[in-house]
């Protein structure tokens, strides 16, 4: 009745180090990308890079890649409801501001 480490998929040490350097590289990339004026695309690029970083943190540091899929479902469910909250807020605000500039 003990927690044998064999039952858990242990991610090798070199993966963690690799992920760490990938995250460092992507941080530098975010800062470099922000120096270019791409208009609206600046935000898109910044969010895209942040999401790649988030993937690495979630998959490796938070073990979602090797863990039971129930934890992945938890995370995706939270993201889904976040998108719902965002979508309804945007539809509400922009339809009102567009009509009568209420803000």
């Amino acid at each position: 009745m003990s927690l044998k480490s064999e039952e858990h998929h242990i991610i090798p040490l070199k993966s963690f180090i690799g992920v760490f350097f990938a995250l460092l590289f992507l941080t530098v990339l975010t800062v470099v990308a922000a120096q270019f004026n791409m208009g609206e695309w600046n935000t898109v690029v910044a969010m895209l890079i942040a999401s790649i970083k988030a993937f690495f943190v979630l998959a490796y540091f938070m073990h979602l890649k090797v863990d039971d899929k129930v934890f992945l479902v938890c995370f995706l469910l939270a993201v889904f409801f976040l998108i719902v909250m965002y979508a309804f807020s945007v539809v509400d605000i922009y339809t009102r501001v567009g009509v009568s500039n209420i803000l």
């Binding site: 760490f20 540091f61 995370f75 939270a78 605000i93």
Partner: protein
């Protein structure tokens, strides 16, 4: 479990009586923590949604206001948090390999990274407060700025403040882990608290990964 070392008293974790096995206890604890993380994602999500909407409406004012932030300090803090995430995950890794000294070393480094992060944050806050770059009606900067710059600082202080509170709570939990690790409670047989605090700490890191470009690099 290994009984090779009989001279030192080995810590034995007793599974709570309402669980059938250590495996079940571990999975249940972790599931509970993930449900908590779901609420955390949605709580910070509300702040992010508000920020993104207002940034869309007052994009010029937000771009101007964000220039008051020093992106270099934000970048240093990003690196500090990423490094602390690495050491946090290494402490779990070494617990799974029964290396107590390395578990402790990594926990101490993680805690110390939290201290560095909060010191840099305190320096930034002190600078903003001194300049009068404050939320809403408290805003009193000496020069003329965009009309909605105070709104930007409302979001800045709310989001980084909420994040900072989470970092401090996380540091408290890491101290608790250090205390338990000194007692030799963690091994490949039992590392649930390390795993759960680790998940919380990584979520805090994850939130900063989005906060940094949104607050410091807009414009």
């Amino acid at each position: 479990m290994s009984t090779s070392n009989t001279t030192t008293q080995e810590y034995v974790h007793h599974v709570a009586h309402h669980f059938d096995s250590a495996e079940e206890e571990y999975r249940t604890s972790k599931f509970g923590l993930w449900v908590f993380l779901m609420t955390e994602i949605l709580m910070f999500g509300g702040l992010f949604v508000g920020y993104i909407i207002f940034r869309g409406i007052y994009s010029e004012a937000f771009a101007e206001a964000s220039k008051f932030l020093d992106w270099r300090l934000g970048a240093i803090n990003t690196v500090v948090l990423i490094f602390s995430s690495l050491t946090m995950v290494l402490s779990i890794y070494y617990a799974q390999h029964n290396q107590k000294a390395k578990v402790l070393l990594n926990l101490y480094i993680t805690f110390f990274c939290g201290v560095i992060f909060m010191c840099i944050k305190a320096y930034e806050y002190a600078h903003k407060i001194h300049e009068g770059l404050l939320p809403g009606h408290m805003f009193h900067y000496s020069e003329q700025v965009a009309a909605h710059a105070p709104l930007y600082f409302s979001f800045y202080f709310c989001m980084t403040g909420m994040h900072g509170i989470h970092v401090m709570v996380g540091m408290g939990f890491i101290l608790w882990l250090i205390r338990r690790a000194h007692r030799g409670e963690f091994s490949s047989n039992y590392f649930t608290p390390l795993e759960c605090v680790g998940l919380f700490w990584h979520l805090v890191d994850l939130i900063w990964i989005y906060l940094f470009p949104l607050l410091y690099l807009v414009g």
